[in-house]
């Protein structure tokens, strides 16, 4: 079982430079055909200063920085045993190519169900841009499948 003393822990910040080429790659990877996401002329015509990041893109911040992997490692949770349970975003300002987004998270809760067969890690995050503007908040629930007889 995960040590409950991790609850309340703040994770190291993750800094994501939002790059045009990666946004185009991401748009292509999800089959996005709206030119606003891949064509700067279309993006500017729509009122954006540069290519906009699609709604789920900033989730990349803590993956790139390996913050989540480190957190799981410190909790003693193997990657093979996790599933993504829930994910939520609240949006306050657009994120576009050229922005730098910093994500700061804390472990909000850890709890168990089914007599410990499943554990749940709740992580809450804020994302701010290079101007100090809060662009989004996020909430993740990671599900850990424990082997039978885990203590």
């Amino acid at each position: 079982m995960i040590d409950r003393s991790h609850i309340g822990r703040e994770l190291a910040p993750s800094v994501l430079d939002v790059e045009k080429g990666r946004l185009v790659f991401f748009a292509q990877a999800i089959g996005e055909t709206d030119p606003v996401y891949t064509d700067e002329t279309a993006a500017r015509a729509a009122g954006y200063p540069a290519l906009p990041a699609p709604p789920t893109f900033i989730f990349a911040a803590e993956l790139d920085s390996r913050t989540v992997v480190s957190m799981l490692d410190e909790m003693g949770v193997p990657l093979a045993r996790i599933l993504h349970g829930e994910q939520a975003f609240r949006y306050f300002a657009p994120v576009c190519a050229g922005d730098t987004v910093t994500v700061r998270s804390r472990v909000a809760d850890i709890y168990a169900r089914r007599s410990g067969a499943l554990e749940f890690i709740v992580k809450e995050s804020t994302a701010t841009n290079q101007h100090g503007t809060e662009v989004a908040t996020m909430r993740s629930v990671i599900v850990v499948r424990n082997p039978p007889g885990a203590t």
Binding site: G31, A46, P55, L79, H84, A88, Y91, C96
Partner: protein, 154 residues
């Protein structure tokens, strides 16, 4: 008179019960998972390496929950400009396997008017071709009451 559910709803005039135009995706394949892993930063080998997936107890590689959520993002941004999306949440209730052809659907379940804005709550789901639900979610969308183009940040 065209039934309400069959009209493409103008979001500003959306009513409770209106359905968003569906987004149907091609069957999941390894190439899609590999590219999404690279683009999204989620390199968990359970999504890209069959040997790792099998050691983890899966029959084969499985899709990222966030791939389905990205598709829910597309469902919404085809319907409203992205700055209108205030909240997006998802529960990953089922694993999406290779060969699953997923469809994203949305339905307006609440409409409120708040001064100059109309606020819509949209229930979202992602199901495969067998009707198995993989994602259950919700979005909150805010649009100006008088239809006009929305410029980012305005």
């Amino acid at each position: 008179m065209t039934p309400r559910a069959m009209r493409l709803p103008d979001p500003c005039n959306a009513a409770v019960g209106d359905r968003l135009p569906e987004l149907a995706l091609p069957p999941l394949d390894r190439a899609t998972l590999a590219l999404f892993a690279g683009a999204s930063g989620d390199h968990n080998p359970i999504h890209i390496d069959i040997d790792c997936a099998r050691r983890a107890g899966m029959p084969d590689v499985i899709a990222h929950g966030m791939l389905s959520m990205a598709w829910l993002g597309r469902l919404l941004t085809r319907w409203v400009p992205q700055p209108a999306i205030r909240e997006l949440s998802a529960r990953f209730v089922g694993i999406a396997h290779l060969g699953n052809a997923l469809t994203c659907r949305g339905r307006v379940v609440e409409r409120r008017e708040d001064g100059t804005e109309v606020l819509l709550r949209v229930e979202l789901e992602v199901t495969n071709q067998y009707g198995e639900r993989k994602v259950q979610g919700e979005a909150q969308v805010a649009l100006p009451l008088a239809p006009r183009s929305i410029a980012a940040g305005s």
